[in-house]
């Protein structure tokens, strides 16, 4: 019995060592085709080609965003986008916005491209999203009005909220290797 078990085990070992052999391997172009909502990293990886500026963003914003976020990004019925004041612990959460709470400019592109407009996401072209990001960064007083958002410029934008962001102390204890980008 024991010997039979051992034999069975030995027979099974090579199969396990090679993995289960389940799942189909994808060619790089197949992966690319699946990547319809690219995940953007803070260093800019994942950002598509394209660019956009404030003037173009103003138009897209008025057409696609203002009905939910207010004509000037002041929020209502949905999230406030343009910060009216700096962050403090006295600031009510509905006044958290890009200028006082969002720590990475790359997140703006990532989120708008994957999730906005709320009713009909994935309809905006990369140029339109870059333009919106430029518009929102200018409105929040983070970049000058002639800023052009692109794969090259977004990772370099320093957001005011980044200096307050830190790793949760418990998480640091559990995973000492983690560093915030």
């Amino acid at each position: 019995m024991a010997r039979a078990l051992l034999l069975l085990l030995l027979a099974a070992l090579p199969a396990l060592a090679e993995g289960l052999g389940l799942g189909r391997e994808l060619a790089p172009e197949e992966v690319q085709a699946y990547d319809v909502t690219p995940i953007v990293l803070p260093d800019g990886r994942g950002l598509p080609e394209g660019e956009g500026d404030y003037a173009a963003g103003f138009e897209v914003y008025a057409f696609e965003c203002a009905s939910c976020h207010g004509p000037n990004g002041e929020g209502a019925p949905f999230d406030r986008l343009v910060a009216a004041e700096p962050f403090s612990t006295e600031l009510p959460p509905h006044r958290f916005a890009i200028g006082n709470y969002w720590p990475y400019a790359t997140t703006l592109f990532d989120y708008i491209y994957r999730a906005m407009p709320f009713q009909e996401p994935h309809k905006l072209e990369p140029d339109e999203v870059y333009a919106l990001v430029a518009f929102l960064l200018v409105e929040n007083g983070i970049v000058p009005e002639d800023f052009v958002a692109s794969r090259e410029t977004l990772p370099k934008v320093r957001m005011p909220a980044r200096k307050r962001l830190r790793l949760d102390p418990l998480t640091r204890k559990l995973y000492p290797w983690i560093e915030l980008p």
């Binding site: 189909r24 992966v31 995940i39 612990t89 600031l91 990475y104």
Partner: protein
């Protein structure tokens, strides 16, 4: 009272020689007089239980992003019925045809892989009972002054317990072969917001499940049908529903759900990222806010849980916190699962406040409201786990008994929070 009912008279009571029996009318509750309903292919709740529903706040600006609370005031047990499991969506519930569902693993792997549902279900599985809790659970605790009409459901109902069955994520990652630089697994959902969260590789290899069964049946659409991540003990928003891909990377995404949302404000104004582990919680569900009790015997009942492991103890006070007794924990007491506690109690009819506090196996103790706000800012939005107090009025009505905070009202909070419950002014 129908004609089959009958009246017991005082004379009849006297006839059996028991002077304490008084005249009462009662329905003898006879067996059914006629044939009942036939076999049914899918069971439904009794129509008399139809009122037991998830609570959806009338204050939500949209029902496509927000949370519905599990009705914990009206449930007992560590497993929630699938239709009543709490729900949190960020862009509605997608309808996914299981034949079209695919999962892609790519990035820092030796072999990018694609799985269909049939292939995923052939792989080795595990079944575990875990709680899932929204980071916004307890958000009503941020209200100041506390709202008198709060119920247990609205206080802590963004948590549920279920048995989840799925493939350990480790097996899928090993199948694809991790490259040495792999540090993060970025999971993406197939909902309209293509929800993305970053999970450190240690956790991904430790105990994360790629789940396709909830209490034995297929997941409910609102809980991720056909496949979701279950990330034991961590905030619900990282347990990506409607999973469509896993990108293995050397950096986290710093997605919206881990930067502008689901980050936590400290009293010194710094903001903590990656507040993943859910701290110990407990709540008395009976008697609780909105209920009314009569003098005499009651079993105090509630739930406790912690993202750090098993619940070690739940202490209950029936005198406003002057004295505490250890409640009985109902077996099974499981790692990172809901745990029931009970305490027999006799209410004599005087006004009092009852409280519960959880202690987990790591030694973490559920904080009081005051203690909580020494750790987190008053304008923080998540992870509220302060002790919930219930005040029992002399007439038996149960209300929110949370003490107001020293320092008075917080900045006015407008409709917000995932549950839409934080609303003032």
């Amino acid at each position: 009272m129908d004609r089959r009912s009958f009246l017991k008279t005082l004379a009849a009571a006297l006839a059996v020689g028991n002077a304490r029996v008084v005249a009462v009318e009662f329905d003898p509750f006879p067996p059914a007089p006629r044939l009942g309903k036939p076999l049914s292919p899918v069971g439904e709740r009794s129509r008399f239980e139809a009122h037991v529903q998830r609570y959806i706040s009338p204050n939500l600006p949209s029902r496509h992003t927000g949370a519905a609370f599990a009705p914990i005031s009206e449930l007992d047990g560590i497993i929630h019925p699938n239709g009543l499991h709490f729900e949190r969506d960020h862009a509605g519930v997608p309808e996914i045809d299981p034949k079209k569902w695919r999962l892609v693993i790519h990035g820092l792997v030796e072999r990018p892989l694609i799985f269909d549902l049939e292939t995923l279900m052939r792989m080795p599985t595990e079944s575990r009972i875990y709680f899932i809790e929204c980071a916004g659970n307890g958000q009503n605790g941020y209200r100041e002054p506390p709202e008198p009409t709060l119920t247990a459901t609205r206080s802590r109902g963004l948590v549920s317990g279920a048995e989840w069955t799925g493939v350990p994520l480790r097996i899928l990652l090993e199948e694809a072969g991790l490259k040495p630089e792999a540090r993060w697994v970025l999971a993406e959902g197939a909902d309209a917001s293509a929800w993305v969260r970053s999970i450190p590789i240690d956790k991904a290899l430790a105990d994360v499940l790629v789940a396709f069964r909830q209490n034995g049946e297929a997941l409910r659409p609102e809980n991720g049908y056909p496949v979701r991540l279950v990330v034991p003990g961590w905030e619900g928003s990282i347990q990506v529903k409607w999973l469509r891909r896993l990108l293995v990377a050397d950096q986290p995404a710093m997605s919206r759900g881990e930067t502008s949302e689901y980050t936590d404000v400290r009293p010194d104004g710094t903001v903590d990222a990656f507040t993943w582990v859910m701290e110990p919680q407990s709540i008395i569900t009976r008697p609780s806010g909105g209920q009314r009790i009569a003098p005499g015997f009651h079993e105090i009942r509630g739930l406790a849980w912690s993202g750090f492991g098993k619940i070690r103890a739940v202490e209950v006070s029936t005198d406003g916190g002057k004295t505490w007794q250890e409640a009985r924990l109902s077996e099974p007491v499981l790692d990172r699962a809901l745990t029931r506690f009970t305490l027999p109690w006799r209410w004599e009819g005087q006004e009092t406040v009852i409280l519960s506090r959880a202690v987990d196996e790591a030694g973490n103790v559920q904080p009081t409201r005051e203690e909580f706000f020494r750790r987190w800012a008053r304008n923080n939005r998540y992870h509220y786990n302060g002790i919930q107090a219930w005040r029992i009025r002399a007439d038996g009505r149960v209300e929110n008994g949370d003490p107001p905070l020293a320092g008075g009202p917080v900045p006015p909070l407008r409709a917000g929070g995932c549950g839409g419950e934080v609303l003032d002014g």
